[in-house]
């Protein structure tokens, strides 16, 4: 059996090949690498931490079940996030509701006191920005999140949210603009 103890920087594509060959180590590494992203994408859709964790898990399971069909046309992460996103939307449909969540509900938020321009960001202000982000329409919210938090290109953002690259870019820019307006209004 192929193993994957050949370094933390092993590309996803290699890990996927190893996982297809039955390597549990490779599977574990893929989960370690992408569970945070999967959770955040799910949370961006279901807006409920418990449902988001379930959707992330079920999305991973469906991806593993379909791993043999993954041909590498897209990056593994984009492919996985698309599955997680569909899973999350399916959960929303099944539950027939979207529970509005506060940021406190949404899982731990790490405080990073970073310098912005000429001042230090107050953690409360950063939390407020996250809370307001939750109020954006889904595609705008996900476009901002996927571009900022996950570093996806606009083409990849489009694949995950089900739109073209151009529409993903527009959603992102509208999201930032609207968020900016909301921050100064409230």
């Amino acid at each position: 059996m192929t193993d994957s103890r050949d370094g933390p920087d092993t590309p996803d594509e290699i890990l996927v090949d190893q996982a297809k060959a039955g390597s549990e180590v490779a599977l574990n590494r893929l989960v370690s690498r992408h569970h945070q992203t999967a959770y955040r994408v799910a949370l961006g859709i279901v807006r409920d931490p418990e449902l988001a964790a379930d959707a992330a898990q079920d999305g991973f399971l469906k991806a593993i079940q379909a791993l043999d069909r993954f041909r590498g046309d897209a990056r593994f992460r984009t492919w996985l996030l698309t599955i997680v996103g569909n899973e999350a939307r399916g959960q929303v449909r099944k539950r027939g509701r979207r529970r509005e969540s506060t940021l406190d509900d949404a899982g731990p938020v790490a405080d990073r006191a970073v310098a912005v321009d000429d001042g230090v960001v107050v953690a409360d202000e950063a939390r407020r920005a996250r809370r307001l982000l939750e109020e954006l329409p889904e595609k705008q919210r996900l476009a901002v999140q996927l571009r900022l938090d996950e570093g996806l290109s606009f083409r990849e953002v489009g694949e995950v949210i089900g739109s073209s690259e151009g529409a993903a870019r527009v959603n992102y820019h509208h999201g930032i603009k609207r968020l900016r307006e909301m921050m100064w209004k409230s």
Binding site: Q57, L103, D117, L179
Partner: protein, 170 residues
Amino acid sequence: MSERCATIQDQLPDLAAGRLGEAARAGVEVHLRGCAACSEAFETLSLLAAAPVEAPAGLEERIQAAVRSESAAARGADPLADARPSPGRTRLGQRRRWMAPAWGLAAAAAVALLMGRTLLPSADSEPDLLAMADGELPVLLEDDAMVAGALVLDGLSDDDLALLLEELER
């Protein structure tokens, strides 16, 4: 928005998240000093980047356990042998494996019941097979439980399913 601003704004998330290389960063920062619109967008992104949302503790291990079990089941091994069930959550693979024979039989029964009810002549209506083909049966098939009748049976408890199976085996 000018073309230059559009190019810069595309890079702002990477700058805010610390992913931008040194040379590109220097170029963007020069632009930010002279452009209020881009600076404001960057400030917003920096605030968001300062409060990243993190998955709950234990989610990684929980998913790994579920994936391990799913993988073992797919290879034909007994997933329960080294199962580490996640708290409060049935593993997809474990549930599917346990229920596979039950779903097959029970789904067949449910479909037979449904078809029987639809096809039996009644006093006031003719069976409408076209309507059923157009709209009703596909509803049963669209759920990811992947079996016809899943929606009908979804509400049944494990005990109810066991009883149904016993009935079918008689």
